[in-house]
């Protein structure tokens, strides 16, 4: 009965559009359907049933085995087998262990974890309690970005409510198992999503990573064995327990079971979250779920994995979405950012954007990352400024490979990926920038030529905006730009209200 009610409600909330038809919702199963601030809503939707089952019918070892058998892998980026991690932490002898939920969500352009915490906070709490039982820990910590005030508010309420109902606290549901959760806040540092840095940040320190081993499973928070999993990973646990291993492993393919939530954004018709079964192709998610590219523009690339990932081309659209296939194609699954890029974007500029981000976020502890990304960024800036030199592209490749091999943590090890993958797949665009001083997408400002067309009514707005007095023309008469004076700042373009200024970028003669 309740189930039917739920399906009806799903249809009434979401409709049956193609955006939802191809989705399969596990982590997001309750998002948008239940009132996240009402624990009873969650309980009606089979909530805390898994915790009850685990505490009454399963040993900790059973739980670990179940998660192992399900084939679930970490959704935070690296895809490490979750059950294996639980087993390693469970095997440690210690007077104290910790369970940590990584809700730092650093990828700038993705919000899967935020939506789960905002839409269904109890599923994360339940997952963590089950994890605590499995590894023998009574303390959980959620590390969440301070930039997510609503998620924080709902999580605090959910934890309080769960305590009141004895899903958290002492002797949960009458068992010997006690478990509680506290919240710690991030403060805007991307590297703190990396688990060893995250642990230091919870300890109240500068969030700098440490070399592993020892892994957190052996020596983590306050030096104690610690199980770190991502929000979405936690959100899968209760469904696995309730519906069983066979059900879970029937979804997805080979080595990647279950679903993955993606944040579709960029030049795509349906932006938003989509949870799809592993093994769906990029084409299906972009065109069927995402509705394709708007305004009749041409697809150019899709970026997955955020600042640690890569760009894939139209030739790779039939790549399956699973950890191995994406890796083979030259990108990564990552935490779920998926940015669609059309012909209006410059790939060199996109690569620079990501590198700027990682360069800025490099914590400075190891030299390859701290200095290497700086040098790469200098070269990229030179190229986009029209001052690229022969050999620059090769230098980027060489530097990138060294940084990948020599950096201390995942940030540096993956920072060159956006650059290397765009060089691999869009080398001709780099070459145009370097050798012809041309940006085919007309994005890189210094490679643009501004000209005034016949829509000009002589309002003089551009003339006044120009900082170098390169624009001539009497009021109410067509104006013109003196190219030899133009510094390509773009102020005239932004000041014009009549679309009278054209931007072009053509190949230039080499001196």
């Amino acid at each position: 009965m309740e189930k039917q009610m739920f399906t009806d409600r799903f249809a009434s909330v979401f409709g049956t559009e193609s955006f939802f038809k191809k989705q399969k919702r596990i982590a997001l199963k309750n998002c948008g359907l239940i009132d996240p601030e009402n624990i009873n809503d969650y309980i009606y939707a089979d909530g805390y049933k898994a915790l009850g089952t685990v505490l009454t019918k399963m040993t900790p070892k059973d739980v670990v085995e179940t998660v192992k058998a399900s084939g679930l892998r970490g959704r935070g980026g690296a895809g490490f087998p979750t059950g294996r991690k639980w087993e390693l932490t469970a095997q440690q002898e210690s007077d104290e262990k910790f369970v940590v939920c990584n809700a730092d969500e650093g990828d700038p352009g993705a919000f899967m974890d935020r939506s789960v915490v905002e839409g269904d906070p109890h599923t994360v709490i339940e997952g963590m309690a089950i994890g605590g039982y499995a590894i023998g820990s009574s303390k959980g910590v959620v590390y969440i970005r301070a930039e997510y005030p609503l998620a924080i508010k709902r999580l605090i309420k959910a934890i309080d409510d769960a305590r009141k109902e004895n899903f958290l606290g002492k002797n949960i549901l009458g068992s010997n198992f006690s478990f509680d959760i506290e919240i710690r806040y991030g403060a805007g540092a991307f590297v703190c999503g990396e688990e060893t840095a995250l642990i230091r940040s919870i300890e109240g320190l500068r969030g700098m990573p440490k070399s592993r081993p020892p892994f957190p499973a052996a020596k983590g928070l306050f030096g104690k064995p610690t199980l770190v999993n991502n929000v979405e990973t936690w959100a899968n646990i209760s469904s696995i327990i309730v519906n069983g291993v066979d059900w879970f492993s029937s979804i997805g393919i080979d080595k990647s079971k279950g679903t993955k939530v993606f944040a579709l954004a960029g030049k795509i018709v349906n932006t938003g979250l989509a949870e799809v079964p592993m093994g769906m192709t990029l084409r299906e998610i972009i065109y069927d779920v995402g509705g394709g590219i708007p305004n009749g523009k041409k697809f150019k690339a899709v970026q997955t994995g955020g600042p640690s990932g890569g760009c894939l081309t139209d030739k790779m659209l039939d790549t399956k979405i699973d950890y191995e296939s994406l890796m083979q194609a030259g990108s990564i699954m990552g935490s779920g950012g998926m940015i669609v890029i059309d012909e209006d974007s410059c790939m060199v500029n996109i690569a620079k954007f990501f590198l700027q981000f990682t360069q800025d976020e490099s914590c400075g502890k190891c030299i390859p990352c701290r200095e290497g990304t700086k040098r790469m960024l200098e070269i990229l800036t030179r190229i986009t400024d029209g001052e690229g030199k022969p050999g620059d592209i090769e230098k980027l490749e060489e530097l990138g490979n060294v940084i990948k091999k020599a950096s201390l943590c995942g940030l540096g090890q993956s920072a060159p990926n956006p650059v290397l993958s765009t060089i691999k797949n869009f080398r001709e665009e780099y070459e145009e920038h370097v050798y012809q001083k041309k940006c085919r997408a007309v994005v890189c400002e210094k490679l643009i030529t501004y000209t005034i067309n016949d829509k000009c009514i002589g309002c003089s707005a551009c003339r006044r905006a120009c900082p170098v007095v390169a624009i001539k023309g009497a009021p109410k008469e067509a104006h013109s730009i003196q190219q030899e004076l133009c510094i390509k700042c773009g102020k005239c373009f932004r000041s014009c209200k009549f679309h009278a200024i054209d931007k072009t970028s053509e190949a230039k003669e080499q001196k």
Partner: protein, 174 residues
């Protein structure tokens, strides 16, 4: 989080001390330093040298350590911010949809750079990274309000409107 102007410093300090006293009762209280700095910033608007000294004294942690933590994290502001704090999202989705043009326009209009505040203490400018409104890209957040689907013209209109609002408010106060 822009509540401070009416309070006097003494009151802020007292509230912070009460908060710290609560924290000190907890296990491994030093590890709550970041939480305390969040509270300090919420109360004071930014982390002044005096506020950090106060935290140092109350927590018995060297100021140098606190300074180290405060400067590591982008979220902590070390100088006062204006009445309207504009954060332009420069996350990937917003960037792809033209966030830099919006940012440039704001810089030109207000004549400030990222991290700066206008002389009249009216506007501060920051970069943000994905505020989770990618569907509305490009977006900016002004104090706690989100403005979506921006373009250079729209953001100038918004800024002008806020200026007018502030003027009105001043008149009422006088």
């Amino acid at each position: 989080m822009h509540t401070t102007l009416h309070h006097n410093q003494q009151e802020i300090n007292n509230q912070l001390k009460i908060f710290i006293d609560e924290i000190k009762k907890r296990e491994r209280s030093d590890s709550h330093l970041i939480t305390i700095l969040h509270k300090a910033q919420e109360l004071n608007g930014y982390l002044s040298k005096e506020i950090m000294d106060l935290v140092a004294e109350e927590m018995q942690i060297p100021t140098s350590v606190i300074w180290g933590v405060a400067t590591f994290y982008h979220y902590f502001k070390l100088s006062p911010i204006g009445k309207y704090n504009i954060s332009v999202c420069m996350g990937t989705a917003c960037y792809v949809k033209g966030a830099s043009e919006v940012l440039e326009t704001i810089k030109e209009t207000l004549e400030i750079e990222i991290g700066e505040t206008t002389e009249d203490m009216m506007f501060s400018l920051q970069e943000a990274r994905c505020i989770g409104a990618c569907g509305l890209a490009p977006v900016a957040m002004i104090n706690d309000k989100i403005y979506g689907e921006l373009n250079p013209k729209k953001i100038v209109d918004i800024i002008n409107k806020l200026k007018e609002e502030a003027l009105e408010e001043e008149k009422i106060v006088q």
